[in-house]
């Protein structure tokens, strides 16, 4: 709980005005104004793709805005990461930016090392400074001489957090900084954040865990579709309001009416799926015409599950497709078995951005449109055009380059590719992420259509509302194993959230 009063003081700790940033014609931020006060913890909420990460990258100097200004305690930011650091900005980012081949101590004091007279770094002082810091912060059990490369993910986050506070920053950013930490360490991180605020700094706190944000933030700003759509004092705003603002319209309207018609034909049976320590004894069934949702907090094995089912990740277990046992150890085998995946990151895993729609869509069915290896271009054109038309892809023609399409249309192109294959079991990894609302509705409508045609769908989403409204059954993963399978009247957001944190019993 917060135990200090918040006064909106001036000058602002962080002042951003009219910030815009686009990548290749796609706007990531549009005319964003933001003001963070000294002494406060300010939460940022928003779906993935809403612009939060881009905004953060601008503040730390990793990117430069196309328009607008950012200033830190009155001084303009306008250079690279070095300038930001000099102005007192420190960040713990999602992709933990530590140097794997340097030790813990070397990482923490990187670019700020204590020197000997001869201009050489004093390793000894480095170690003692680290020990002092760890004592101050209460970090135990991590050796300063350990190579970061050999540390576990949660330890790396602890190091990243320690590094960020080591120089008493004036603006501290936590971007999903607690995602891999167990509860005790999360509390530690949050208390550090409060300390920085208490000392007069600004803490910007991003987390998808709504509870966490509420616990620590004084004010919350919502990002949606590349804009900052509202700032609220935490105590004055309800969860529902926050969620509504994040989504942009009352949740109900997005989803097509569920059709709970059930056939009992099993398309996919999975038993005893194990993958290292990421998946433990997962079992699931997918029936014809049903959508099986996969949910839970981020990083609990959902990605690994989908990758394993698609043959893209080694795993042990039994998989039966239409009653026949299958060995799925490559994407080609999965496709042949009738399982196709729409990956999480459409830009780096899904699409060949520099190639045309035609090239992208026909990529998985090349065998079917060639004779003796030679392409039948007429057949290809026909297939690609009819599929893109069915999915309502907005493009000038199928030779348009994928990079120039909007996020939503890019997702549709990916779906087109998968639908052209013979796969009837579709694995979708967060398909509506970072997609505009109109296309979201299109995609959800398409999913319902497909189930009506007899497809079996496994849908992973980081959005609980999506999962609850679209799934016929919802499987919650926690720590790589199944925490709950919700269906019927039990299929509610509250139950899903409870199961995600381990509070659900049948």
């Amino acid at each position: 709980m917060k135990d200090h009063a918040v006064e909106v003081a001036s000058p602002a700790a962080l002042d951003a005005k009219g910030i815009s940033k686009s990548f290749g014609g796609i706007a990531a931020l549009q005319h964003v104004d933001f003001s963070g006060s000294p002494g406060e913890v300010h939460g940022l909420l928003g779906e993935n793709g809403a612009g939060k990460s881009t905004f953060i990258k601008l503040i730390v100097g990793a990117l430069r805005p196309d328009a607008g200004t950012i200033s830190v305690f009155g001084e303009a930011l306008g250079g690279g990461p070095r300038r930001a650091r000099r102005l007192g900005v420190a960040a713990v980012l999602q992709e933990i930016p530590l140097i794997p081949d340097l030790t813990v101590a070397q990482n923490i004091w990187f670019r700020d090392e204590p020197m000997h007279r001869l201009g050489m770094i004093s390793e000894r002082r480095l170690l003692s400074m680290t020990r002092t810091l760890f004592e101050r912060l209460g970090v135990e059990g991590i050796g300063p001489s350990a190579l970061v490369r050999e540390l576990s993910l949660s330890n790396r986050q602890v190091i990243a957090i320690s590094r960020s506070v080591a120089h008493s920053p004036r603006v501290l950013i936590f971007d999903e900084a607690t995602s891999a930490l167990p509860p005790k360490e999360v509390e530690w991180a949050l208390s550090l954040a409060r300390d920085i605020a208490r000392q007069g700094g600004l803490v910007i706190f991003i987390s998808h865990r709504l509870r966490e944000v509420r616990t620590v933030a004084d004010r919350i700003t919502i990002f949606r579709n590349s804009r900052a759509v509202g700032t609220y004092r935490t105590e004055e705003v309800s969860d529902d309001r926050l969620i509504t603002e994040m989504l942009g319209r009352p949740p109900q309207m997005l989803y097509p009416p569920p059709q709970r018609t059930r056939t009992t034909r099993l398309m996919l049976e999975v038993r005893g799926l194990n993958a290292g320590d990421r998946l433990k004894d997962v079992a699931l069934d997918v029936r014809e015409g049903e959508i099986l949702g996969i949910g839970g907090l981020e990083g609990q094995g959902q990605n690994e599950l989908l990758l394993a089912l698609a043959g893209l990740r080694p795993a042990r277990g039994e998989i039966k497709v239409n009653g026949v046992g299958m060995n799925i150890s490559s994407s080609r085998q999965a496709l042949r078995a009738g399982i196709a995946l729409i990956p999480e990151d459409r830009q780096s895993q899904g699409l060949l951005l520099t190639k045309s729609i035609r090239h992208n869509v026909s990529l998985s069915i090349l065998g079917g449109i060639t004779r003796w290896g030679v392409l039948n271009l007429t057949k290809e054109t026909h297939l690609v055009e009819s599929m893109t038309k069915r999915l309502n892809v907005k493009a000038t023609d199928i030779d348009q380059i994928a990079r120039t399409l909007s996020g939503g249309n890019q997702q549709k192109v990916l779906m087109a590719r998968v639908l052209l294959t013979k796969a009837r079991i579709l694995l979708l990894n967060d398909p509506a992420r970072g997609v505009d609302v109109g296309t979201k509705a299109d995609i959800f409508g398409l999913l319902r259509q497909l189930t009506a045609e007899g497809y079996g769908i496994v849908l992973h989403s980081t959005d609980f509302q999506e999962l609850v409204n679209l799934s016929d059954r919802l499987m919650i993963l926690r720590g790589g194993s199944i925490s709950a399978i919700l269906q019927g009247d039990d299929l509610t957001e509250t139950n899903a959230l409870s199961a995600s944190v381990g509070n659900w019993t049948n």
């Binding site: 990461p81 992709e95 930016p97 081949d101 990187f110 050489m120 770094i121 540390l151 360490e185």
Partner: protein, 326 residues
């Protein structure tokens, strides 16, 4: 300030024993090869022989040090061949009678190596071109220039430089002490901001940039140092060959990378072992002696060096894979 929570270390990723042990490959290989030769030539293990072997290996050692630095930064420098060519032909045509004139030229050539390396680095960074492509091109250009200056091996190296190069102090060749100099350089280099920045860049360039590393000067620095060492190699070669050659450097490109790889340096950057690289250079040199001693045709030594390179890289990959899935 409220007392912060105490944390405990969490499940450390279990270390596969294989990844903990520093690869002893170059040392073992060296020991085996030396043993092989010694069986036929007992005099091989002597100070006099150490001098000879070091003389043979020193040119490769010099260029390997530079290559190791560039590879540590995440790059690759094929143009060392061209720098060596150019250095030897310029030395052979410009040293004249020796004396102060020669000393000036020695400094100039070292500076030239530094400058060429700096240009490599600048092009790689500023134009965002792949190191392989850039250094392949500069290798070609420098070799062409060398051919223009001295179309066939020859030229004149003053006697003073030759005798300097073959001096001994207290029974040890000065180049054995040169090794000590290299060691001192390396210790200093790894503890300086530039050295650390180079290592960071090769380890995780994104993180290094975010942490405030000035990428362009770091890259330029790494390639400049490599050029410097390549020039030093060329200068050393002239003390041994007595002349210049526009093609002698070409045979050093693969071995410099091979020695680095055999020595355990990661070819994708971030981790380097100088001791290993020097051992690797010795390995490649002693292979020649092995081949000669056993009467095997000379050409086998390059075949073996190629095979060793592939094996070293392959083992490195294996280790990396084990590490990830241990």
């Amino acid at each position: 300030m409220t007392p912060p929570a105490q944390i405990e270390s969490h499940k450390r990723r279990p270390r596969s024993w294989l990844s903990e042990v520093p690869i002893p490959m170059p040392y073992i290989a060296l020991a085996i090869l030396v043993a092989m030769v010694t069986t036929q030539r007992p005099s091989y293990l002597s100070v006099a022989q150490l001098n000879l072997t070091t003389l043979e290996a020193f040119s490769l050692i010099l260029v390997t040090v530079g290559q190791t630095i560039v590879i540590l930064s995440g790059g690759l420098d094929l143009s060392v061949g061209g720098v060596i060519n150019l250095t030897t032909v310029l030395a052979a045509t410009q040293f004249g009678r020796g004396g102060a004139h020669m000393v000036v030229w020695i400094l100039l050539l070292l500076l030239l190596g530094l400058a060429i390396g700096a240009v490599n680095g600048a092009v790689v960074r500023r134009l965002r071109m792949q190191p392989f492509v850039v250094t392949l091109a500069t290798w070609s250009i420098l070799s062409g220039v060398s051919l223009l200056i001295l179309p066939t091996p020859g030229g004149q190296i003053p006697a003073s430089w030759l005798s300097f190069g073959n001096m001994t102090v207290g029974g040890l060749s000065i180049w054995v002490m040169g090794l000590a100099g290299i060691a001192v350089f390396w210790v200093s280099f790894t503890r300086r901001p530039l050295g650390r920045a180079i290592k960071a860049l090769g380890s995780n360039s994104e993180a290094a940039y975010l942490a405030g590393v000035r990428v362009a000067p770091t890259v330029v620095g790494a390639y400049a140092l490599c050029g410097l060492f390549a020039a030093a190699c060329g200068l050393f070669l002239t003390t041994q060959t007595g002349g210049g050659s526009p093609i002698i450097g070409n045979d050093f490109v693969l071995p410099s990378v091979a020695a680095t790889a055999i020595g355990g340096t990661r070819l994708t950057g971030g981790f380097a072992s100088l001791a290993g690289a020097i051992a690797g250079a010795y390995v490649l040199t002693v292979i020649n002696d092995v081949v000669f001693t056993f009467g095997i045709p000379q050409a086998w030594s390059i075949v073996l060096s190629g095979l060793l390179l592939v094996m070293a890289v392959f083992l490195g990959e294996l280790r990396g894979l084990l590490h990830r899935w241990a």
